[in-house]
Amino acid sequence: MSSLLANPLATPSQLYRRASSATLPRDVDEAVYFATQCLTQAAGRLLQLPQSVTAQANVLLARFWLAESPMAHEFSDISAATIYLVSKLGPLPRSPRDVSNVYAYLSSANSALFPSGELPKDDPRAYYQTEADYYAFQQRMLGLEARILQSLSFDTQVSLPYPLAITYLQTLDFLSQPRTTVSLRTIQYLNTALLSPQMLYITLQPNALATAAIYNAARDLGAKMPEHEWWEVFDVDREELGFLVVAMRSVEGWMQKLKEDFPSFGNNMLKRSMVEDELHRRGLQVGNRDKTPRDEEDEVMRMMDSR
């Protein structure tokens, strides 16, 4: 079963279509992508999910956004729907209630994800959810669950590079480094790559990601690598490796720049309204302005129906 080792990948035409029909300027689009993936990671921590589950949610989100405009739904709802779906299919399911609580907390003023300078004082009132809030959240999340599945034709399998990376490191005898040090560095590169706006996990196979992460870790630690083109043993060619090495190393600098370009995005959980404000500031038309109010109205109607 190759599905354990390989992933379906975005085709060049899909990537092209996404770039050409984008509703957002590229830098804003990337900022949204990054903020949402970070949010998923934070939620995964709070839901006490292992990284292998949260990372799958990151990948599903990337796949989903390849076809759908990020502005079509609230970012936090998509993030919640992916993590809920992935956890449900895995060995550690989480209830909609848990997911709802976590996202309510993360979006509150109390959220530790967005430090405001002083230590957040724990004030449960800030993230208390009424039954109606919960119901509305759950409805949105479950609607998106179905939506995500349909646009991925129900293929939720994600192969991650982590186990491969460890196997490769064993093969390389951990490059004569302390095992934990080199493994940790490798895993860190893989985790960071999940956040890269270059969408590395949906354009390259796990074996390439694992190999590049090891290469980067080795360089950071000054470990000696085999002199031959060892990456070919892991079925990665030089060009792929070179691209990935640069892509992985550039995420950090790119994040710094992001902080400077969008100072407001880091203060709160990113919402569509914030992005619209940003576009407005730039004097740009918001892609689907007419669509948003209708959705809200639907929401209200649905809430009233359900009472």
């Binding site: 379906p8 609607g143 179905a146 293929d155």
Partner: protein, 469 residues
């Protein structure tokens, strides 16, 4: 090869060569497989195109032509980069033929012909794909409107498992299509499955003469090789029974209905005991074990073997208590010797068993199946071992002497054909008194919410005492 780190890298020229050679072989194999897949895809797509251009005529000829033309074409491989200029490296890199994702198609691409089955667990219909005229089975996932947990995890598991499975004895899923209310969370979801003419249960019910032992052997071999494939891929079926086994007009058996199936990896997920239709449920499940494995499927295989021989379900209990007493009647009463540790199972603690007399406690399988050869009886005996540890694995079973003895398993092509039922009319409801299906489907929730709906019945069985003699 671990002498000194240096020498390892030094000798890697030969290593690389060896590796390359091995990889080549492997890749060749994989590529062939992928090509086959690709061809199927190609065929589908071409067929689609063909049908679009000449909308009116969609006939079988198309398919054949396409198959011929696409097999002559080399399979397309995904290339992100041009082939490396091979100046110094002769390595062939392994590339998977993976494809991409695209939205599910609409169910409107299919035209319903007739219902096959509508029961507690959903709805299956025969349909044709409009573009190609191919006949398929459409199975609608049962969705609870307003389920607080969203789409049923059992259905999603079924889809994922079928997507990953490719074996001649496992029913093939072609795609998943959806209804037209795309925005609704309870929009219908249909599995497009290959259409197979019969199910084994209906055949057994209608056949005037039982299967010949050569036929039983062939059917069992096919079932077992399908089960072996599933177990090898960490899948437990958890609902093997004759009504879930399909038989084509060419004698090909296929395992279907993966609504209860799931992956069991490492770490072992928490598993629910509420699985398998009662008549096929293994004793450890009836006694409430919290950990079980592939042996529960092998018990079901044993029940199916008995049923293939007699045309009657082997152990037809009316409820859990009755079921376990039927099991003990047939297989004997467990003892610490025959099943070490069974007393520790939750429902066995309060179990009162008759005083051990060797006569009452032994298995009567041999006597129930007088026409079975010694090898056959020993196989059935081992499949129906009370202790799950003593049941053979599917892989071991394939090697059993029973299959090598005369009469030899009959070739599939020589199988009799049966009047098609699914073709025109609705299939009969099976096992009207099997209480499980409805119950079982609700179980999916159990894993998650921890709210044990429909569980009260099961739990009542916990404190039962059993008097025999």
């Amino acid at each position: 090869m671990s002498t000194k780190p240096k020498s390892r890298w030094a000798s890697s020229a030969e290593d690389a060569e060896y590796e390359a050679r091995q990889k080549k072989e492997k890749e060749e194999k994989r590529r062939k497989k992928a090509q086959k897949l690709q061809e199927e895809e190609e065929e589908k797509r071409k067929a689609l195109q063909a049908a679009a251009s000449q909308a009116a005529e969609t006939n079988d000829n198309d398919d054949n032509d396409d198959a011929a033309s696409s097999s002559s074409r080399p399979s397309k491989r995904r290339k992100l980069t041009p082939e490396p200029a091979s100046n110094n490296s002769s390595a062939t890199l392994l590339r998977f033929d993976v494809g991409t994702w695209k939205p599910s198609r609409s169910v409107d691409n299919y035209d319903k012909l007739n219902d096959i089955e509508e029961g507690t667990y959903g709805w299956v219909a025969r349909a044709t794909e409009l573009a190609t005229g191919r006949v398929v089975a459409l199975k609608r996932l049962k969705l609870e409107a307003g389920d607080p947990n969203g789409l049923p995890v059992t259905g999603l598991r079924e889809i994922q498992i079928l997507k990953n499975c490719r074996h001649r004895n496992v029913v093939a899923m072609e795609e998943v299509v959806v209804g037209n209310d795309v925005s609704k969370p309870d929009n219908s979801i249909f599995l497009v499955l290959e259409f197979v003419e019969h199910d084994l249960k209906s055949i057994l019910q209608d056949m005037p003469e039982p299967f010949l032992s050569s036929e039983v052997k062939r059917l069992l071999l096919q079932l077992t090789s399908g089960v072996a494939y599933l177990h090898q891929n960490y899948i437990l079926h958890r609902d093997l029974k004759t009504s879930n086994l399909l038989l084509s007009n060419r004698g090909l058996l296929k395992i279907a209905d993966f609504g209860m199936a799931r992956y069991v990896g490492d770490p072992r997920p928490k598993l629910t005991q509420l699985v398998v239709t009662l008549w096929y449920r293994a004793p450890e499940l009836l006694l409430g074990t919290r950990t079980y494995d592939a042996a529960v499927d092998m018990w079901s295989v044993g029940c199916i073997m008995g049923e293939l021989i007699t045309r009657e379900p082997l152990l037809q209990g009316s409820n859990e208590v009755d079921q376990i007493s039927k099991v003990f009647e047939l297989c004997g009463v467990p003892t610490e010797d025959s099943w070490p540790g069974f007393r520790r199972l939750p429902n066995a603690r309060s179990l009162r068993l008759p005083k051990q007399s060797p006569l009452a406690s032994g298995s009567v399988i041999r006597a129930r199946f007088p026409n079975l050869t010694a090898a056959g009886a020993s196989l059935l005996n081992s499949l129906l071992a009370l202790d799950p540890e003593k049941r053979p694995s599917a892989k071991e079973m394939l090697e059993h002497e029973y299959f090598r003895q005369d009469p030899k398993p009959k070739p599939e092509s020589l199988f009799p054909t049966f009047p098609s039922k699914a073709g025109q009319e609705r299939r009969r409801r099976h096992e009207p008194d099997a209480p499980v299906r409805g119950q079982a489907v609700a179980l999916g929730d159990v894993d998650f919410s921890g709210i044990f709906q429909g569980r009260d019945k099961e739990e009542r069985g916990a404190g039962f005492s059993l008097r025999m003699v």
